[in-house]
Amino acid sequence: MRVKERKVVKMGDLTLTIEGTWMTTWKDGVERGEETRVRAIVHWAGEKAWSVSYVADEGVLSPYAGSELAKEYGSAMADRHARQFLRWLGLCFKDEASRLFNSLDNAYFFNPEYRQRPSAIDTCWRLARVGVVASTLAITFNQLRVAVCKSFVFDAQNYKKYAPLDIFAIVGECLCNFAAAGGKELDLAATFVELAEQRLKEVSADGVSVR
């Protein structure tokens, strides 16, 4: 069985699709395990789409996966991992390396600090695994950052208006909000303007920066 959940982020010429895929894995003709893969599909207008991906979760088949609830369970898993990726992307834009580190560590346990008796081989395996996630995030972050830089936000007039709010932090917040809300499609440009204008109003009302 295979279930896909897609989240689409549009910014200028870029359409970024985050696709979570939950699937059961087979061995010797028997359904034995399950795997969730996250794929970031980068599509610039007029160019061929390409993608990067990583295995977000894998293991033995859960009791839900074998039952009639399999489809719902798979869909929830795929959705959860796609949203988690979007949240990490949001933290990248907010430049919160420590929170990103803690969040990745909560997911992949690669930092042996505060853990009981971590073994070296386990730590190495976890580091190798999270390295692929970090690589996928770094590539996607760079692409979306280029799209933001190429967009209307960086036109001289808009830049002058929005720069004091920290443009990338606002973008990050839009992505985190989208991840938390669990929508299907995000028009990043429109959401950015909405949030930035709201922030500008708050700043002009109390004269204090909200950041």
């Binding site: 933290l91 990248c92 834009f93 907010k94 430049d95 919160e96 390396a97 420590s98 990103l100 580190f101 990745l104 930092n111 042996p112 600090e113 971590p118 073994s119 070296a120 081989i121 730590t123 190495c124 395996w125 580091l127 190798a128 695994r129 999270v130 390295g131 692929v132 970090a134 690589s135 995030l137 770094a138 972050f141 760079n142």
Partner: protein, 197 residues
Amino acid sequence: MEYPCAEKGLKFGDLTIVVRAQWHRWPADEPPGGTTEISVTLMRDGIDARIVKTAPFRKTDWPLRCLPHETPRYAEAEAKRAVNVFWRWIGLALIDDVWQLLIELDDAYRFRPIEEIRELSSLEFLTNLRDVGSVMEPLLAVLTHLLCAIHVWRLQTDVEADATSMCVQLGEQLIAFAEQDGVRFADFTPKEVNANA
């Protein structure tokens, strides 16, 4: 221009592992910067196929700002250092000294943001984590094959030896091996069995 590569290998039971490193200069980069690439080759006696894993080990920006004529010597030293450090990390993993391994990996790749001491941008953090992750791939391949080789050796020889203490012993030998400069190959198969064979 190809710079000299460094190589150090070992044998344990029927497993032979060769670790090779080479510094490559980035094209048109002046003063020269480059990447040290590490590659491991795993071979089993009697099997033609081999496993090869390659990863960038260290990127060096501006290593020779004022001394471009020293590049070949630098490249050689950098490659030797990479091979020795890699074997040392394998040794630390085998003796299960996870803290020392973590400290050394973090020193090399700076992947842990530390408040007010090491402030990393999110992109720096991600690329550093990616780099340490990619080095873990060949390291993990060597480690798992060595662990298998230890178990295979115990089964084949019927020697009453505890696998954990064998790992610790081999790990300590590898840490010492990493510090030896002139040695390019060593057989770490336990001696008493060599004598019986």
